[in-house]
């Protein structure tokens, strides 16, 4: 087919069309539900309608009579096999695979049915009779805190309190706040939401003729799965082969290991046939990793002229029935310490207390580095509230408190070392592009006419690229990442990495990095990920860590290949190694450009005429990042609010990002568009809501809302480039910036529109009903 893209220039920064697209465009992507094995059975899971109840009895007899049903397993069966619980990646808790004794959240897994067809599996699940005795429901962390009902008697400490985490100087912060001329405080809730990738989670488990587990699964971290499964099932790790095929979006949802996966493996083992389990949309929304649900009390202190004096944040986190947050072991609240944001805060204190409730487990990073979105939203919202208190322009307050260019590397009072940045430059570019002055004039006129127009800012900084081994691990495994590069005789090659693309375009960007470093054609650099038999061990793709960590590993592995190649080049050029230099994508004799060989020629020689050198041309690198990277940006939203209906129209949205070196602008823009759309959804329509009875009210796409092309605004983008000093190619990672930075911009714009009415805060999602009631109440209060 005439769908091979023609050769393109290799250099970084090229808008190279994605190499992976042709297969997706032709419906030839290979997602987990596309995998079909001979004799494959289907699994369906019986779930609890009760959020909290003891299980009196489970009767599977009727289910076993259903035509096509092969077996039904319950928690008792699993417990007998020692598979009753699985550790959460967090390492601080474990999760029931199938409920034993009692259920702790609505839609919790209670039994699994295996059958010849999907339909028969559901028929069987429907026929399983479970008797429950309802127990009192704990539907929020504040009720949980009272410990009147202990949800997890299985734990040593008989309390719903999971952990207390804090950072910073509590007393100094308190003193600084006391003595601050200006102080604002606000309870800010980042609502529970869900990544909801369009492809639900699923797997196919199969024990091959060698008795080896072939496990196809929608996993953002296949190697960690392999290790986790070895620990849970006791199957030796060499007997487990995890394959993560094409993934239809992950956004953090596909990081944890879910009970359905364990059930499928048990079914395959028990029945000696492959078992496929694909969750329904309802199962995805009600039982797999949710995000956020942080109740944050934020306090800012400032001098009369608007210099920040202190920041204090106290958070109650709702973790649901199990602490399944996929945070690094030492960071139960993730990177929340970045809550000082882009500002030079002299003293600060942040603490998080997490609680069990009768809700689905999770607390994963929904398109963000662990808990960075919550932190970024808190500080960016609080800055606007402070600006309002001080009566100064929100932009001026930010400008005044920005960490200055010359302060980098900047050590924040909460312990991070920001690698690089020029916040003023990015802000100024944004103001110029949006035409801030003209907008302010328009707003003034509109306000004079009683119309509600708002301009909202978010000048966020996030922390990504977990992370340095001295701080970061998942289940004890350090958060390095890896790459292996092989160059073939004809100058083509393959790069394998421990990451796993879910649409980020690794097959293109990884090839571009190699092409840049080796002067080869990226079209002929194959990228392979997601197969634990072939890829080097890596921690996977989430928390914007692929480019900062694996991207670095690839660049360094490529440079090792180049070092080896240099020796062979010297042999071909008949000079000493020291006389050869890499210039303009080829090796040449120093000072004699005419005498040169290309990498392609060297590659051929590596297999045909290596001279005194070891044959072959390949290298591996396991990269342990010296520090995190700190992408940042200035986002501006312009909105009009309809007084009568509460409708918010996002008229314009500008994102100016700085993610350091840009590998592929086409892909970076795409990432930003997508992240902004998700931020827009979170700001205006997304919430996983539970009623007081513990019922999940947003169990499918008719109530958990994803915006369509019609609601989604048009995006304007621009960027500045401030490379990361410690990253081999200066790249910082970008996939999550737009989702981290945009919610505050949207909400700040709405509040700016309502500020003439004296409104200071409104909780997300900013629904029409909420806006209308806020306006009505504010007007009533002024009368």
């Amino acid at each position: 087919m005439s769908i091979e893209a023609k050769s393109e220039r290799h250099a970084l920064g090229h808008r190279m069309k994605r190499k992976e697209d042709p297969r997706f465009l032709q419906g030839k992507g290979n997602y987990v539900d596309d995998i079909s094995l001979p004799g494959m059975l289907y699994a369906a899971i019986v779930r609890s309608p009760y959020p909290h109840a003891s299980i009196k009895n489970i009767d599977i007899s009727e289910a076993l009579k259903v035509p096509g049903v092969k077996a039904v397993i319950t928690g008792a069966d699993l417990e007998a096999a020692g598979l009753g619980w699985l550790p959460t990646f967090h390492g601080l808790d474990k999760q029931m695979v199938l409920a034993v004794g009692k259920v702790l959240f609505q839609y919790q897994e209670v039994a699994a049915v295996f059958a010849e067809t999907r339909a028969a599996a559901y028929d069987g699940a429907e026929a399983v009779q479970v008797e429950y005795e309802p127990l009192p429901v704990v539907a929020d962390p504040f009720t949980a805190k009272k410990d009147e009902v202990i949800l997890r008697p299985d734990r040593e400490k008989k309390t719903n309190h999971i952990y207390h985490w804090e950072v910073g100087d509590r007393d100094a912060t308190a003193r600084a706040l006391e003595s601050s001329p200006k102080r604002v405080s606000q309870r800010i809730w980042f609502q529970r939401c869900h990544p909801a990738p369009l492809e639900p989670c699923g797997c196919v488990a199969h024990f091959d003729t060698m008795g080896r587990l072939q496990f196809y699964v929608t996993s953002q971290a296949p190697h960690v799965y392999r290790t986790a499964l070895a620990i849970v099932t006791g199957i030796p790790e060499d007997k487990i082969h995890v394959i993560s095929p094409d993934i239809g979006g992950g956004f953090g949802n596909k990081v944890p290991v879910y009970p359905g996966y364990v059930c499928a493996i048990v079914g395959a083992l028990k029945l000696g046939r492959p078992v496929k389990w694909i969750e329904t949309r309802t199962e995805n929304l009600t039982s797999t990793g949710f995000a956020r649900d942080y109740h944050m009390d934020v306090e800012l202190g400032a001098s009369a002229d608007g210099r920040l004096t202190a920041l204090r944040v106290s958070t109650a986190a709702d973790h649901g029935a199990f602490d399944a947050a996929a945070d690094p072991t030492k960071y139960p609240a993730g990177m929340f310490g970045v809550v000082t944001g882009s500002y030079d805060v002299p003293v600060a204190h942040a603490e998080v207390d997490a609680y069990f409730t009768n809700k689905a487990p999770g607390g994963i990073a929904y398109r963000c580095s662990f808990r960075v979105t919550e932190a970024s939203y808190a500080i960016e919202r609080a800055m606007d509230i402070l600006a309002d208190e001080l009566g100064i322009d929100a932009v001026e307050l930010r400008r005044k408190n920005f960490i200055k260019k010359e302060q980098f590397p900047y050590k924040s009072v909460l312990g991070f070392t920001y690698d690089s940045g020029d916040y003023h430059k990015t802000l100024d570019l944004a103001l110029e592009k949006i035409g801030y002055k003209a907008l302010l004039e328009e707003q003034a006129e509109k306000r004079a006419r009683g119309e509600l127009m708002g301009i909202g800012f978010s000048t966020f900084t996030e922390v990504v690229g977990a992370g340095p081994s001295k701080h970061f691990d998942i289940l004890g495994i350090k958060m390095f990442d890896s790459a292996e590069i092989r160059i073939h005789p004809t100058g083509a090659g393959i790069v394998r990495a421990g990451t796993k693309s879910q649409g980020q375009g690794h097959e293109t960007t990884w090839a571009q990095i190699v092409a840049e470093e080796l002067g080869l054609d990226p079209q002929n650099i194959m990228v392979e990920e997601g197969d634990t038999d072939t890829a080097p061990y890596g921690l996977g793709t989430y928390a914007s860590r692929s480019t900062p960590v694996a991207g670095a590993a690839i660049a360094i592995a490529a440079r090792r290949v180049r070092e080896k190649a240099k020796k062979i080049a010297a042999h071909l050029l008949e000079v000493g190694d020291g006389d050869v230099e890499w210039k303009d994508y080829k090796f040449q004799v120093k000072g004699v450009p005419a005498k040169s060989v290309t990498m392609k020629e060297v590659a051929f020689a590596a297999y045909t005429n290596p001279g005194p050198n070891e044959p072959g041309l390949e290298a591996t690198n396991y990269y342990d990042p010296p520090n995190m990277t700190f992408p940042y940006g200035t986002y501006i939203a312009v909105v009009d609010v309809d007084r009568e209906t509460g409708e918010v129209k996002v008229r314009r949205f500008l994102a100016v990002d700085d993610c350091g070196t840009v590998i592929n602008p086409l892909i970076v823009e795409g990432q930003i568009h997508g992240g902004l759309a998700e931020g827009f959804a979170i700001a205006f329509m997304q919430e996983i809501q539970y009623d007081s009875e513990g019922n999940n009210l947003n169990t499918n796409f008719t109530d958990y809302l994803l915006p369509t092309s019609l609601e989604t605004p048009h995006w304007e983008t621009a960027n500045t480039v401030t490379p990361s000093p410690h990253h081999p190619i200066g790249a910082k990672g970008v996939g999550e910036s737009p989702n981290v930075g945009s919610p505050a911009a949207f909400v700040n714009a709405v509040i700016d529109a309502l500020s003439p009415l004296g409104v200071r805060h409104i909780e997300m999602p900013v629904t029409r009903d909420k806006v209308w009631r806020t306006i009505r109440d504010a007007e009533a209060a002024r009368k």
Binding site: M1, L25, Q26, K28, G29, Y31, R118, L198, G503, H714
Partner: protein
Amino acid sequence: MKVSIRVNGVAYERDVEPRTLLAYFLREECHLTGTHIGCDTSACGCCVVVMDGDKAVKSCTMFAVQADGHEIMTVEGLAQGGALHPIQQGFWDQHGLQCGYCTPGMMLTAYVLLGQNPNPSEAEIREGLAGNLCRCTGYQNIVKAVKQAAEVMRQPAPAAQ
């Protein structure tokens, strides 16, 4: 129940349970896995296929028996004569896809849209695609892709050599 459904020009005769959804028929009986399933509520549009050439339908909100005797086009039927369809080319050129899961349905909805409106404005494209959800792209490049496709498709076909 016996059904005969022409999919991308090929007749598939199968004996199916009436409750078999068209989407599963295409995926599991015809082994055309480009048609995806993302929800149970006719909301996401990952399963959109073209029925009888001029109708975009959500194949997981329809039973295979309803398609008996009808003509279905799936994403696998878009490319002709070894060349990508202008819509596919547009999505590629404009980076109109990321994870690729919504892409087949999105392109087939666009196919029917352009059949009815060969020269849609951005607003008309956004309206026409509002039955398909995408989580990755923020829609902007999809709109560009469809615009590009419309322009290409409006060109008169080059005379055969």
